[in-house]
Amino acid sequence: MKKRGQVSVEFMVIIAISMMILLPSVYMFRNYVMQSSDQILKSRLNELSDMVLLKAKKMHYYGPPSKSTIELDMPPQIDNMYITAVPDNNEYYLGFTILTSHGTEEVTFYSDIPIRALETKPCDFCNSYSFCECMIERYYNKGPKNIQVTSTVDCNYGEDFCVSIGDFSPDLN
């Protein structure tokens, strides 16, 4: 007589133990990947902002009408891009609202030279701040961008010179 019942029980026990090991592992791995993905996004934004603000500083010190174009790849998960300022203290910040595994988060990068957005849109975020402007979506949606930083005398808060930041991707010109 074949011992079919014993084989089935053993098989079920093996499957159960495998699932007990596999399912928590998958869950832990998923959490790790999502956290890594957030860190990768922040690291990418850090690198990107460094490039833009460093180039902006260079153009600022050359003076108007100096300009330069930076080719970069904007990552996904960016919900908003804005500039806030405390002009009296000469403080300017390039900021991003990003979508992370924990919800939305604000990431800002300091600029010691006056910056402004070339094209803006009304946004709820800036309603809470006096000196704030949100950039249009084309500047921060996912994909390749030609970000142009231009030294100009056309400034928002009465500065002598400032640097405008805008996207000049070829297919839109």
């Binding site: 153009m59 108007p64 100096s66």
Partner: protein, 178 residues
């Protein structure tokens, strides 16, 4: 087995080589740059009909205007800027102008031989349309500034004496990435 390992190592070395080459030579973010000290020194040390600058002094107004009247941008390019050519940029145009505060006092174009469409223009609200820099060599443009149509531009400047005033001698470079 030895052959396979050797081949893998060879591919790795090749990839490192091309990565380094790509990073330095084919980089898409090459910058327009010029050593301003060398540039102004070169402009100042020309002793022919194209000299207008004597160290930090611009020659008298009458001499300067005579210079502008007989001026040829392509010959000027050879005298002033040919040594600053860069393979990263296909056309580099130059506009030399004297600026006192926000007023452009004098300006003249210097463009490379490859330029098909001169890229530096003067923007002025009072004048309809764009004016290439230096088109009218004695016309002053109040509240105007030279501007580049191309993607990259830098301005270098040096304070000089002109008509007993300290003004800024500025050189605007406009470049189109190759």
């Amino acid at each position: 087995m030895d052959f396979i390992l050797t081949f893998v190592l060879y591919l790795f070395a090749l990839s490192v080589f091309f990565f380094a080459i790509n990073d330095s030579y084919f980089s898409t973010n090459r910058e327009l740059d010029v050593n301003s000290e060398i540039l102004f020194s070169k402009i100042s040390n020309i002793y022919n009909e194209y000299s207008f600058l004597d160290d930090s002094k611009v020659m008298s107004v009458s001499k300067f205007d005579i210079f502008l009247a007989g001026y040829n941008p392509l010959i000027a390019y050879e005298h002033y800027f040919q040594s600053f050519e860069s393979t990263a940029f296909s056309d580099i145009d130059y506009c030399i102008y004297l600026q006192n505060g926000s007023d452009i006092i004098r300006n003249f174009e210097v463009y490379s031989k490859n330029s098909q469409d001169y890229s530096i223009i003067i923007l002025n609200d009072a004048i309809i349309g764009e004016i290439p820099c230096g088109t009218n060599k004695v016309l002053t443009y109040e509240d105007a500034i030279p501007y580049c149509k191309s993607d990259e531009s830098i301005v270098v400047s040096k304070p000089v004496l002109f008509e007993q005033d300290i003004v800024q001698l500025k050189v605007l470079m406009c470049g189109e990435r190759a």
